[in-house]
């Protein structure tokens, strides 16, 4: 089993390497002088030359990559032009709001979507099934920020239940933290719920058609046990897979949601950095998000071993 884990971890290394190369080339391959782009529109030739020298842009490209990658492995993501601090520091500062939002969103999504999916599959063709499918297509189609504004208008402005914007740190108390995060996480979770519920329903439906379900029911097991211990357990692999893949959508959604709800997290940082043309920060953030995405999918792959002992690479 260890060899499986080790092999799986090793398999992510080429992907991460390619991501690093792509991100590195992102800036170098654009038309125009990278130093000029980094310096911005208002720089003069001296400043451009200085930037070029300080970043080693006058060295051959492989040497540049070597230096950049070496820094990367030590955790140095470069320095932001706009904020004048290390990118790694910026990310660490803004991590908590984004992490809170993501954790809450994923929890809500899984806790709502999986039971709904199971119920829809159980009562296939019934009103719940059709309602869920309809909701699922809607959830995919209504963009996150449109939904955000609808919910803000409804819940914050008309009903006054939750605040419109802002974020409170967890250290200041779980009450205000939840109060401010409730609406953003619900907004973001709708998309995730649509995705997970759909896959859960399809997967559980497949599982319910199997012989062992018939056996379990014939044995006289209570239906709940049949659904959870037998159907869900066998349906788990695609569900967990889609949770991992959906993380990419979640990251995109986080960028928009933080923008709408004025949460000072990594998503907002991305938008601000892009608007300020702060490329070191943008590069660092892309690397960070990709790394998290690859890591989560690695964990998903490794979880297969526990979910389905038949899977062996």
């Amino acid at each position: 089993m260890f060899s499986f884990v080790a092999r799986r971890i090793l398999a992510t290394v080429p992907v991460l390497l390619i991501v690093a190369v792509l991100v590195f080339l992102l800036l170098r391959l654009t038309p125009g002088d990278p130093a000029a782009i980094l310096a911005g529109d208002a720089a003069n030739t001296e400043q451009i030359a200085r930037i070029r020298a300080s970043l080693g842009l006058d060295r051959p490209i492989l040497a540049q990559f070597g230096i950049w990658f070496g820094n990367l492995l030590q955790g140095d993501l470069g320095e932001s032009f706009y904020y004048k601090t290390k990118v790694a520091t910026l990310i660490a500062q803004r991590l908590e709001p984004t992490l809170s939002l993501a954790a809450l969103t994923i929890s809500i999504a899984v806790l709502v979507a999986v039971p709904l999916g199971i119920l829809a599959a159980w009562r296939f063709g019934g009103w719940l099934d059709r309602a869920l499918m309809g909701f699922s297509v809607l959830g995919f189609s209504v963009p996150v920020f449109v939904l955000a504004y609808i919910l803000i208008w409804l819940v914050s402005l008309k009903l006054g239940w939750l605040p419109v914007q802002g974020y409170q740190r967890l250290a200041d108390g779980p009450g205000p933290w939840l109060y401010h995060l409730a609406l953003p996480s619900i907004t973001l979770s709708v998309l995730y719920i649509a995705l997970i519920a759909r896959v859960t329903r399809a997967s559980v439906m497949d599982a319910l058609g199997e012989d062992y379900i018939r056996t379990a029911r014939a044995k006289g097991l209570p239906e709940v046990r049949v659904l959870v211990r037998h159907a869900l357990a066998n349906a788990a692999v695609p569900i967990v897979t889609v949770i991992g893949i959906g993380l990419a959508l979640l990251i995109g959604g986080v960028v928009v949601t933080e923008s709408v709800y004025a949460i000072p997290g990594l998503g907002r940082l991305t938008v601000d950095a892009v608007l300020a043309r702060d490329f070191p920060t943008v590069q660092g953030l892309i690397l960070f998000f990709s790394f998290i995405y690859v890591l989560v999918n690695l964990l998903v792959d490794l979880s297969y071993v526990f979910l389905d002992p038949r899977i062996r690479y």
Binding site: P14, P143, V146, I251, S259, V274, I286, Y293
Partner: protein
Amino acid sequence: MRIGAGVIAAMVLVAIAAPWLGTVDPSLFDAGSRDLLPGKSGQITTLEGETLQHTFLMGSDSYGRDIYSRVIYGTRVSLVVGIATALLALAVGIVCGLSAGYLRWLDGILMRFMDGIMAIPAILVAIALVALWRGSIVTVVAAIAIPEIPRVTRLVRSLVLTIREEPYVEAAIALGTPTWKILFGHILPNCVAPLLVQGTFTCAFAILVEAVLSFLGVGLPPDIPTWGNIMAEGRAQFVSFPHNVFFPGIFLAVTVLAVNMLGDGLRDTLDPKMAKRI
């Protein structure tokens, strides 16, 4: 599927017929007609300097521009970006997928490369590319198409891997048919159905991402009205004048929904086996 197709057809008609639908030039404004509620009528100044009386069907924004006109003209942008992105992603994806599936030496490198692109969340790729290349229709289309290309490539590659074992391909090879002819004349026509479905989903994704990019301020130049733009400019007054945000939002949601429904319907029709799964 028919509903989806119907709605999209209506949108296309709206986009083409924009100048005749009771709209004015979307960039026209009048300081005296700011923040009007939907249905109110007010004045608008044309480029020649004359003042017209105009009913603001969807209200006006903080500059006094007619939201209705901007939303209708925004339809054009969204549809163009959606279709262009889908076509570009399909074209490049097909070429890559065919090559990867048929030419074994290319398979490993190309798929690793695609895995790398897929590892980066799509919206981040699009944002980064548009930030680097500066916004214009071409760069936005390319920036949104690039994250979708690996998906199409994977699809085509998996289809090619199955189809290339078919007897008729073997026969074609035996007859000495050149490779490109086999790829485009025999293999590709058998991939059309799933590609069509993927194309519609790519179109929906593109419309969505373009709106997100414009909303965040990193999309097309601000003088072109797009639904995302209108919402971004209207968000400051959202609390008092929600119509700025709601009307383009509704159009956006309905369009993406229609394209998604079309894609679902196409998939159910063209391949009943796939309908049972996701």
